[in-house]
């Protein structure tokens, strides 16, 4: 039982009548609030907080996205410019380049994390002695603050004083100060992928492990009886039955990396030039350095819509995994 994954049961609340046994309803109302009142009292504060901190500002931002507001020039009269900000963004080649950089980062980091994470999960699933201890060690990076991670990797990756280049030089013979992981146009995009994978491959691993453990033993036993090869078992049983879990991990990582800001901001701050300038970093520059509030609100809304769409798919996948 311990090694099996139990998936949450479908919502009880959808079964009519279960939450309110008719017999005692009247009696309860005498010395307490009705269930209906309690339900609303309990849910309302959360909804109110989210409306105040998320939705109200969002609506305000939508309004601002149609204006020319620039906080560094707030003496200018506020003017409604219609869809100008949006057309500026969509016609701006730089924005498309940032989106391309972001897409490359998302695709390569998630792909690498899937390979490493799934590989590790397959190995750990063999349940060798001490696997639980080593799993915990492997999980540590993903629990750390991305900002702190980005910051200390800049020390590790310094060409002269950092250990990384010396370690590479030890295996390849390339002189350690001949390349810079964060300062070279050809390497920097791979550096952020590398550090992100160091941090998040364990995430994919943990979810895949749950997927592997959800496969009942008898399926493999049946395959053994049918003399299916290990290779065949992997392709016909292991992989297809882990795919929903893998999808969950991929979607979540893709969303998180699409909005990546903290780790990369500290590791390369978008440089050298703009080779690692992800869309969030670009947004931060427009909003908090150039103070182009109207323009950046429009860009933020475009990102919102994208993430919202992805989140929608994520929740659907989540529910699918739940029902298994």
């Amino acid at each position: 039982m311990d090694t099996m994954t139990t998936i949450l049961q479908p919502d009880h609340a959808t079964i009519p009548g279960v939450s309110k046994p008719a017999k005692s309803r009247a009696a309860r109302r005498v010395h307490g609030l009705s269930d209906r009142t309690i339900a609303w009292l309990f849910v309302a504060p959360t909804i109110a907080l989210l409306l105040a901190i998320n939705i109200f500002p969002l609506i305000w931002m939508i309004r601002l996205s149609f204006t020319n507001l620039n906080l560094s020039m707030s003496y200018l009269p506020l003017r409604f410019v219609g869809l100008d900000n949006f057309s500026d963004i969509l016609n701006d080649e730089d924005v498309w380049l940032r989106l391309q950089t972001t897409a490359q980062f998302v695709i390569s980091s998630v792909a690498l994390q899937v390979v490493v994470g799934f590989g590790l999960a397959l190995l750990i699933n063999r349940q060798f002695r001490g696997h639980s201890f080593w799993t915990t060690i492997i999980l540590l990076p993903m629990m750390l603050s991305p900002a702190v991670v980005g910051n200390f990797w800049t020390l590790l990756l310094q060409p002269q004083i950092g250990p990384f280049n010396h370690l590479i030089s030890l295996f390849t013979g390339v002189p350690p100060s001949s390349f810079s992981m964060t300062g070279q146009v050809s390497l920097a995009p791979w550096t952020i992928v590398l550090v992100d994978t160091w941090m998040w491959a364990p995430y994919v691993m943990l979810i895949c492990l749950a997927g592997l453990r959800s496969i009942p033993d008898y399926i493999y036993e049946a395959a053994e009886v049918d003399r299916a090869s290990a290779w065949r078992q992997f392709w016909s049983i292991t992989l297809p039955m882990t795919v929903p879990f893998l999808m969950l991990a991929v979607l979540f990582r893709a969303i998180e990396n699409f909005k990546m800001f903290d780790m990369v901001n500290l590791l390369t701050s978008g440089g050298p030039g703009s080779t690692t300038e992800l869309v969030s970093i670009s947004l931060k520059r427009a909003a908090f350095e150039k103070w182009r509030t109207g323009y950046s609100s429009a860009l933020a809304i475009i990102l919102f819509v994208t993430v919202f769409g992805a989140a929608n798919i994520y929740v659907k996948t989540l529910n699918k995994v739940k029902q298994r």
Binding site: T6, D11, G32, L41, L123, S132, N151, L155, P163
Partner: protein, 320 residues
């Protein structure tokens, strides 16, 4: 009969062969060692002297010193050796350490107030998020709420938003409300982010508590609120604790909001650590010391949370 059965499982694919196990454990241990090296390097750097920390080639073996930690907690000024010679003898070990570098301690650094900010904002937002989350999760778990699925999706989707994009209107709103760079502002913001995780996780935990317990209590004449307090909450303690730790970790680690919305008064550790400056750039031993102190609680929490980790990172969808 029983021996035959045991024998057959021993050879089945379910239980890997000893050789396969040895191979797997070798690779996994290798990966674990490589993955932990960067962290060990930082812990070691915290015990290096300034010159050892930036030595070329990097030093693996060095004479440990507490200079990094002393530098982290103090502000120092450089003085001439003559001036230092005229001073009364050093009172403490750290005075002595600093004077060896021709410096005197001018006062405490800002690290303690930043650490305190991290603690206050972390615990404040965690308490609020778990409190609100427990109520909402109980309601979603036990009552029929119209549009429950849509509300739950709405609650989760707020967490998916890019923080930099969220920060733009929050910055404007907080400026109007005088909440910029205040602990209260940060607590409210982190509560809003954490409450979505809290609702989803706690709903999962409360769903697992059989409702027969409450029904029995209700029949015995308890009100809903009494049943919640005396029957459900004691059963949900583990889940609430795990949720609280997840919320605490988020607030503790958060950087984007902190760097964009705070500059002094309410600044937490993550935006502060990269800017621990010595003479000529980052003071790496002090940065490493701060990183070590900052990461230790996270390592402890990870070990504590190990059993619930999977739930936490999937918003309660997958559990072991």
């Amino acid at each position: 009969m029983t021996t035959a059965a045991t024998k057959s499982t021993a050879h089945s694919i379910v239980e890997a062969s000893p050789r396969a196990k040895a191979f797997a454990s070798g690779l996994v241990i290798l990966y674990a060692v490589i993955t932990i090296l960067p962290l060990l390097w930082i812990v070691a750097t915290a015990f290096k002297s300034q010159s050892d920390a930036i030595a070329y080639p990097p030093k693996v073996i060095f004479e440990p010193t507490l200079e990094g930690y002393v530098n982290l907690f103090t502000v120092r000024t450089r003085q001439t050796p003559d001036f230092i010679a005229k001073l009364p003898p050093p009172q403490t070990w750290y005075d002595k350490l600093v004077r060896q570098r021709d410096m005197v301690i001018a006062g405490p650094s800002k690290v303690v107030p930043r650490f305190v900010n991290s603690l206050i904002i972390g615990f404040g937002s965690t308490f609020l998020a778990v409190f609100l989350g427990t109520l909402a999760a109980y309601a979603f778990s036990r009552f029929r709420i119209p549009l429950a699925d849509d509300l739950l999706f709405f609650i989760l989707s707020t967490r998916m938003m890019p923080p930099v994009a969220v920060a733009i209107p929050i910055y404007l709103m907080y400026r109007q409300l005088n909440l910029t760079d205040t602990r209260l502002g940060m607590i409210l913001l982190y509560t809003a982010v954490n409450v979505s995780l809290a609702v989803w996780l706690l709903k999962g935990f409360i769903d697992e508590i059989p409702r027969e317990y409450e029904e029995a209590a209700l029949v015995d004449g308890y009100t809903r609120l009494q049943a919640l307090r005396k029957v459900v909450l004691p059963q949900a303690v583990t889940g609430i604790a795990a949720t609280a730790i997840f919320c605490l970790i988020f607030s503790w680690n958060e950087y984007a909001f902190a760097v964009l919305l705070t500059s002094g008064e309410a600044q937490t550790m993550p935006p502060f650590i990269p800017f621990i400056i010595g003479e000529g750039g980052q003071d790496w031993p002090a940065v490493a010391a701060a990183t070590t102190l900052f990461v230790v609680p996270i390592v402890m929490f990870t070990v504590l949370l190990r059993k619930h980790l999977l739930r936490g990172i999937t918003f309660g969808a997958v559990r072991k």
